[in-house]
Symmetry: C2
Subunit: 132 residues, 2 copies
DNA sequence: CTAAACGTTGACCCCGGGGTCAAGGTCAAG
DNA sequence: CTTGACCTTGACCCCGGGGTCAACGTTTAG
């Protein structure tokens, strides 16, 4: 299949596929006229790339998944080589969450000082509901 | 005082101050030779701008704070005009946190499938400790 | 034959908050 | 006069993930 067909099958755009290739995530064959040619398994591969991107991994990060990028990573096992990458990203996410929690507290505080006590109280600690 | 002095006093850079001005957050006088001239109160103003930026507000958002940007917003009341801006930003932060929580769960899950069970368990639910 | 619908590469645009030159004006001290 | 520290505006660079042209080649249908 050619790039347009793959883009359609994978629910993305031609531009994105060329970008993934530029980032070293895809290596399509070329027909004599220069067109990119993809096999059907590349649909899964592209889906995996997009899944990992949605998790906040960068294109560079995803290169660590190359050995298992053709597998069904949403369900099955992920290649061990990527564990370090995931762990690092996880740490970043934890940091981001902690920072946002701090920010949240300060915003609620500022809201209270803005004379919007009702509004502030409504937002007081909504996240507590998720654990208690 | 001139821009270099203010930058030093406010703990930031000349470039940043010019950027804030470009964004409409500062309006210094000009000396006959074109140099920017700032009063001492502008130090607080710049500190406020930087505080709000650190909370994730954008330069555009901060324009809503113009009426109270000279006050001591870290301690005293914030001008009511900015309440809506803060509330909106708060909603965004809540969304971000929720999204990151989801991402976190998926990352831990992926980590487990990567054969790094110990690592995954270590990260299992560290945020639960903050509420329980 | 021709037009449409594909494909190709290359290059500029976006966002946010500035960093980092470049090229030049101004002012005090030596 | 000269040096050096300060100031000015303008313009390009960064990151990530592409969007959106431009200018051109190829294939397919009528």
């Amino acid at each position: 299949m050619r790039i347009g067909e793959l883009a359609h099958a994978a629910g993305t755009t031609v531009r994105a596929l060329r970008y993934y290739e530029q980032q070293g995530l895809l290596r399509p064959d070329r027909s004599p006229n220069g067109y990119r040619l993809y096999g059907g398994s590349q649909v899964t591969r592209v889906a995996n790339i997009r899944l990992l991107l949605s998790l906040g991994l960068t294109a560079t990060d995803i290169r660590a998944f190359l050995p298992c990028l053709g597998d069904d990573i949403a369900e099955g096992p992920v290649c061990p080589a990527s564990a370090a990458v995931i762990a690092r990203r996880l740490a970043e996410v934890d940091d981001r969450i902690a920072a946002l929690d701090t920010t949240r507290t300060r915003l609620v505080d500022a809201l209270a000082r803005a004379g919007a006590e009702k509004l502030a109280r409504a937002h007081e600690a909504p996240r507590a509901r998720t654990t208690g």
